[in-house]
């Protein structure tokens, strides 16, 4: 145990003291999030119009002309509704973008042309927080309306007749559709873990190439202890990396993490172990770094493209799907996605975990069998 802990510490120290390695490991995924996020992230897939529900509790000429104006706004697909709670739920589920509630005293407050209105109307606007432009459009529409009714009459000085009460609404992730960045993040976490694991073949090959493994092999240390120390080290790095990705995506692009952090950590640990073991198998059979690289890529590319990390597996041809569904990548990516969106069930996680454990055991057996100090 002593030897194991010291080896893990050794890898961590080497990692921390090797600034280039430290930097690269975190730099790539971060650069990916920032790039992807700023290019496509905060926009929803292009929609023809924003669906807006208008709950008019007033139904007098002032409010009716206001509603008519809203309906003419080109980006709105506005409709009337009387069921306020229903529309608010729909908004929360992402089926529409805003709910405008016009209060009973609206027409009275706005007044008629040439006439000052009485009182103050409180207009409630609930809108999807990721679409602040809806809020602005509504403000413009309101200004236009008040100018129509009041501004023509020079004798009446303008005064605020309508108080706007904005309510930004955070959508439920489990329901409605997602922005590209929302779906991208879990895929990115999965890809980072997969590559972190697979590319661990390279440092193992390097340690073999420069003779450190041979040196360790001259001591009684069991091969399994060495391999376990490498796996543990990578699992720690994978957890740090995932935490960082989730944090950056949350701070810069407001990606909400809806799931259970413990479940995510569990999947990350299991996934990192599985892919680390795959990396160890490659690292066990090659003698040099030069030989390790192409072999890693040979495994990396198919897993990346077939594993549902970049695009859904449903887009793949029929005949290849049974094969793909066995791959560890898709199961890890699915599990991470489910957890991130808060859609994970015990059954779905257990099924994905079972596949990963299967690959993990196969990797363990194979790498311990194939591993050579020299």
């Amino acid at each position: 145990m002593n030897a194991f802990i010291r080896l893990v510490l050794t890898h961590l120290r080497g990692f921390r003291r090797d600034r280039a390695a430290f930097f690269m490991l975190f730099f790539f995924p971060l650069a990916f999030v920032l790039m992807f996020g700023s290019f496509f992230g905060s926009e929803r897939p292009r929609m023809p119009k924003y669906r807006v529900a208008i709950v008019n509790e007033d139904l007098l000429p002032g409010s009716l002309s206001f509603v008519a104006g809203l309906k003419q706004v080109p980006v709105f697909e506005a409709y009337d509704s009387r069921n306020k709670p229903y529309e608010l739920t729909a908004l929360k589920q992402g089926r529409l973008r805003a709910v405008i509630i016009i209060p009973k005293n609206f027409s009275a407050a706005v007044g008629r042309p040439g006439q000052r209105g009485s009182g103050l109307a409180k207009l409630e606007v609930h809108y999807d927080e990721s679409h602040p432009q809806i809020w602005q459009t509504i403000q413009f529409a309101l200004i236009a309306l008040t100018q129509m009714t009041q501004g023509l009459n020079q004798r009446v000085p303008p005064r605020p007749a309508v108080a706007l009460r904005a309510r930004s609404v955070q959508r439920d992730f489990a329901a409605g559709e997602r922005r590209p960045i929302d779906t991208f993040l879990p895929g990115l976490i999965a890809m980072s873990i997969m590559q972190l694991g697979l590319f661990s073949a390279v440092p193992i090959a390097r340690e073999r190439e420069n003779g450190i493994l041979k040196r360790i092999g001259a001591t009684p240390l069991p091969r399994s202890t060495y391999l376990a120390s490498q796996v543990t080290f990578r699992v720690i790095v994978a957890l740090l990396q995932t935490g960082l990705l989730v944090a950056v995506a949350a701070v810069f692009f407001k990606v909400r993490f809806a799931g259970n952090p413990l479940a995510l950590s569990g999947i990350v640990v299991l996934g990192a172990m599985t892919f680390m073991m795959a990396g160890a198998v490659i690292g066990s059979v090659v003698r040099t770094v030069e030989a390790a690289m192409p072999l890693v890529q040979l495994v990396n590319f198919p897993l990346m493209f077939l594993g549902g990390v970049f695009f859904p597996a449903e887009l793949l041809p029929e005949w290849i799907r049974p094969f793909v569904s066995v791959l560890p990548t898709s199961h890890m990516a699915d599990a991470i996605r489910d957890v991130c969106f808060g859609m994970a069930t015990t059954a779905s996680l257990a099924q994905d975990a079972a596949y990963l454990v299967g690959w993990l055991i196969a990797g363990m057996v194979l790498s311990v069998k194939l591993f050579r100090w020299e």
């Binding site: 802990i5 080896l7 041979k214 001259a218 001591t219 009684p220």
Partner: protein, 304 residues
């Protein structure tokens, strides 16, 4: 009971014999040397004895362990320094020793080893900042973390400057004083002469001579060596015919005459030179060394 006994060891790579029937035994408490040029099969032999390599045939027993079936137990009890000095570049000296100490059931504290290696002021420096000599001393120090009775040193001073080399010789002599058995390979004659109690000279995977450094020289040379610069005016035949000369060697512009009576030979040589009007530069007489033994046995110098 010898600490190491090797009997008719053979190992070949792709049909070429690297070790071709080597036998020797090492007694407790002695420094035993394998001396020979690069590629003679020294490292292969040592690594088989350490349990790092499989022999094709032959019997090896180390500390009464069978190197094939009791590898773990053997590694627990021996100290190994490999020819290639491979260390984690980002660990400090102390961390490196502690790491390796953790690989053994029994180990000694790193601080004592650091002192013995003379690395106290470098204890907390990372390995990549060490000089070649310091890194090599650390590499030898790794062979001591489990306080072994038997230590293997594979070319411990190769590539070091003379001062660093002498520093390492002190470390080896200290091991010997503390009662450890040392198996050492080297292609430095001075090193073998200074450190080894007994040695075998290895060439092309075979042992070509065996004994203590002093006995080996005496056995092959009753003579002294007279060395001087080669001059065209003096033919090899003439020099060979000088009184009491038994053999002559010419290599790299240097002539060596082996003489049973150097006084007589030298006088005749100087007379011959005066007759020809040649002044012989850099002339000197020395005892024969292991280098001369190797030259006599193989016709080559050990490092070329």
């Amino acid at each position: 009971m010898p600490v190491i006994s090797v009997d008719n060891l053979r190992k070949s790579y792709n049909g070429t014999a690297a070790v071709d029937g080597i036998s020797f035994s090492v007694e407790r408490g002695e420094v035993f040397g394998l001396l020979g040029p690069n590629g003679a099969g020294k490292t292969t032999t040592v690594e088989i004895v350490e349990g790092l390599r499989e022999a094709d045939s032959g019997a090896v027993s180390v500390l009464d362990f069978d190197v094939r079936s009791q590898r773990r137990d053997l590694k627990e009890r021996i100290g190994v320094q490999l020819q290639k000095n491979a260390l984690y570049p980002n660990l400090t000296v102390r961390e490196t020793l502690d790491l390796f100490a953790g690989f053994f059931r029994n180990s000694q504290p790193s601080i004592g080893i650091i002192e013995r290696l003379g690395l106290s002021d470098k204890a907390d420096s990372v390995v990549k900042t060490l000089s070649g000599g310091q890194a090599q001393r650390l590499s030898v120090g790794l062979a001591l973390v489990n306080d072994p009775d038997l230590v293997f040193l594979d070319e411990p001073t190769t590539g070091l400057d003379p001062q660093a080399r002498r520093g390492l010789w002190d470390v080896v002599e200290e091991m010997k004083r503390s009662g450890k058995t040392v198996l050492l390979t080297t292609h430095y004659m001075e090193e073998a002469e200074r450190l080894c109690d007994r040695l075998v000279v290895v060439d092309h995977g075979k042992i070509i001579a065996e004994g203590s450094p002093r006995n080996l020289v005496d056995e092959h040379f009753k003579e002294r060596a007279i060395e001087f610069e080669v001059r065209a005016e003096l033919s090899a035949d003439e020099l060979g015919a000088l009184p009491d000369v038994t053999r002559q060697q010419q290599q790299n512009g240097q002539m060596t005459l082996y003489s049973t009576n150097p006084h007589q030979t030298l006088r005749a040589l100087l007379e011959l030179g005066t007759q020809r009007g040649v002044e012989l530069a850099e002339i000197h007489i020395r005892r024969a060394t292991l280098e001369d033994v190797f030259l006599k046995l193989t016709g080559r110098r050990i490092r070329e």
